[in-house]
Symmetry: C2
């Protein structure tokens, strides 16, 4: 079923229960899974540089098509050499399709079968995204992985609403796939040029398109979506959208539990917008391979740090003269260089370095969490469950932090 | 006249006109002069990490006694290992005395011979700084160089006002020197412990105290101040305060011109709060060795970059699709990694990385400027003047930037 394209390739190495480790090969490099992808909404992971990201072991970064389309515009990114060159990130990139953003916008206006009309959050201008435009924009940006344009129903939507969004998402997926194939064909056999060659811009790689499963928390819709998506073509990966949007964690885990046995093992599975440490652990146990979330950087900018004993807020007066590191188990620059007392001072004094250091630590935390899970999975059956029990006991107990 | 203390040592290597190159030896390392010192007001150079600062060749950093006293408090800094350890900067540090800050504060209340009463900008509380307290606070912070507490008259003050401030500054200097000697004596022969040893804190080094020459733009007051300061004791360096506070550049240069022949050649000369690139060049030509200023980081955060062709504002729409580096002659991370178009995007999209990158570039610009002047001075008489003429022609012409 998966395309045997040597540029887009996934191999599962080991399993422990439903959890797996794997290697995802993409034009800009390989990614070991399970993997956490930091989010670079506007073509930069907030407060962090590519050098920072490499220093904490980030292998793949996500950028937002909606944001880059609105500002600076994909034409500007293309003129500046494509998204990799633009943001100086030479490892794999994934762009979302803009679907989730336009449906979440205050300026969201109207959806019909053609596409979505919305208001730009930057200039208030009315704009339209269609499956074809979203695909074309992503092709122009040039990430390794592009996502299909989907209709995201609100969290907790009833079955009729979810069914309607799902049907539209499936019709749109066909149009995305057709457009993507057109763009690829137009550049074959000059594979390493993109459609932007006509504007004098060469992209550095080809691109794969991944579908997004919708269906809310209705498992019958999810399994139907999966069946119809698989019938539609050969994919190199599979995303699960529309979870972690307000439903309970228990419900999200239940949907994953019931969906997992039907997911084709050879495809990498990407759970969009997830998440917090406890979500990553629970989802890896349920067979998910890839994650993205703004939590580590957003929380970091709020002064909240992930630690093995749970979250702590560095502004807490208890840290005023605390000479110990933020997280003694961590190897990031924030933890190996500074005291909690100094980091607290940076936040209290509203210094920019604090935003960077806590963002860096939180990204490192999630990357180390994925590394720890990969190591446990490699030990074989039962090893991940034992590791996860131990991890949860420590993370959720009322800690000294 | 200079103290022959092996820990605090200055050697002049070469001269070109009045300009000189030298090596300043301090407990935390040596500094090649002329030198620009980035300002870390609150114990961090805004938006930059120590690693960033080392990457652009920073050799010595300035921190503000007033700010650190108010927040987090010198006791907190001491408990966290002293200022070097606190901010993770293992190269030389200089702290100002707080004089300039308290006289510039909105909450400035009252000055008498004892000291200055002022209102904290953080909590509004009434506080008092005296020469003894300012000296003690700096000793507790533990920088390599501490500055005497001075009475700074407003820019453009008449001779009577300047005379009054000067007399008080000289009386205060005696008190600072006495207190500093007391603190040193109390720790001799355990030289590498500070007065904070009684609180269980060991500082990593000893400290030298530098006097500040005041006298406004009145050259007779300046030369009198210099004579009386030199009579007062043996110093390891000499600061010139109260310039670049509103007087014309021509007037500042004139004061330096008339003062320089009387300054003892063996002492490093530090022109406080200066400055912009053109000021550095003019002051080095007039025999100044050391500088500090918030301009590179403050301007950087505003999107203004120093370049060999003058300042440019990166927000300018002309840079929208400009693939060239910010400053093609520069070797900093901002210039070697990113396009002007991307840097513009970071500012327009209000991304934190932009603040860091332009701050980094501007600091590098001033450090490279000092390097270029050192190289010109080493070529001998006339070489710096020729270099400076050429530099000014390029920097002040209406450039392509």
């Amino acid at each position: 079923m998966p395309v045997m394209d040597p540029e887009f390739h996934f191999i599962v190495h080991a399993t422990s229960g439903r959890a797996r480790t794997g290697t995802l090969t993409l034009p800009h490099g390989t990614v070991e899974t399970p993997v956490f992808m930091p989010v670079g909404t506007q073509g930069t992971v907030r407060a962090l540089s590519p050098t920072d990201l490499k220093s904490v072991g980030a292998g793949i970064v996500l950028a937002n098509t909606y944001h880059l389309h609105v500002r600076p515009g994909e034409d500007v990114v293309a003129k500046l050499g494509g998204l990799h060159r633009f943001m100086a990130w030479d490892r794999p990139l994934l762009t979302d399709s803009g679907g989730f953003q336009v449906f979440s916008l205050d300026g969201f206006r109207r959806v019909d079968d053609d596409g979505v009309e919305f208001q730009s959050h930057v200039d208030g201008g009315r704009r339209t995204l269609t499956p074809e435009r979203a695909t074309e924009i992503q092709w122009t940006l040039g990430a390794d992985i592009a996502m299909a344009f989907d209709h995201v129903a609100p969290g907790g939507a009833d079955e009729a609403t979810s069914r309607d969004a799902l049907e539209r998402t499936l019709r749109w997926l066909e149009r995305c796939a057709r457009k993507h194939a057109e763009l690829q064909d137009a550049t074959t056999p000059r594979r390493h040029e993109t459609a932007d060659a006509r504007r004098g811009v060469l992209a550095s790689c080809s691109q794969t398109l991944w579908p997004i499963l919708q269906g809310g928390t209705h498992v019958n819709l999810r399994t139907e979506a999966l069946r119809r998506v698989l019938e539609m073509g050969a994919w190199t990966g599979m995303a699960i959208g529309g979870l972690s949007v307000g439903e309970s964690k228990a419900r999200m885990y239940e949907v994953l539990d019931l969906l997992e046995p039907r997911l084709p093992a050879p495809l990498p599975r990407y759970l969009m917008g997830v998440g917090f440490p406890e979500d990553l652990v629970a989802a890896v146990e349920r067979g998910v391979d890839m994650f993205d979330c703004v939590a580590p950087t957003r929380n970091g900018r709020n002064g909240t740090a992930f630690t093995p004993e749970g979250q702590l807020n560095i502004r807490n007066a208890a840290f005023r003269t605390d000479a110990s590191p933020l997280d003694p188990t961590c190897d990031c620059e924030a933890c190996t260089t500074y005291s909690r007392g100094y980091l607290r001072h940076l936040f209290v004094a509203e210094e920019l370095l604090g935003l960077r250091l806590l963002s860096l630590h939180n990204v490192r935390y999630l990357i180390r969490l994925a590394e720890a899970m990969r190591a446990a999975i490699r030990k074989g059956d039962g090893a991940l469950a034992a590791w996860a029990d131990d991890w949860r006991r420590r993370y959720t107990q009322p800690g000294t932090a």
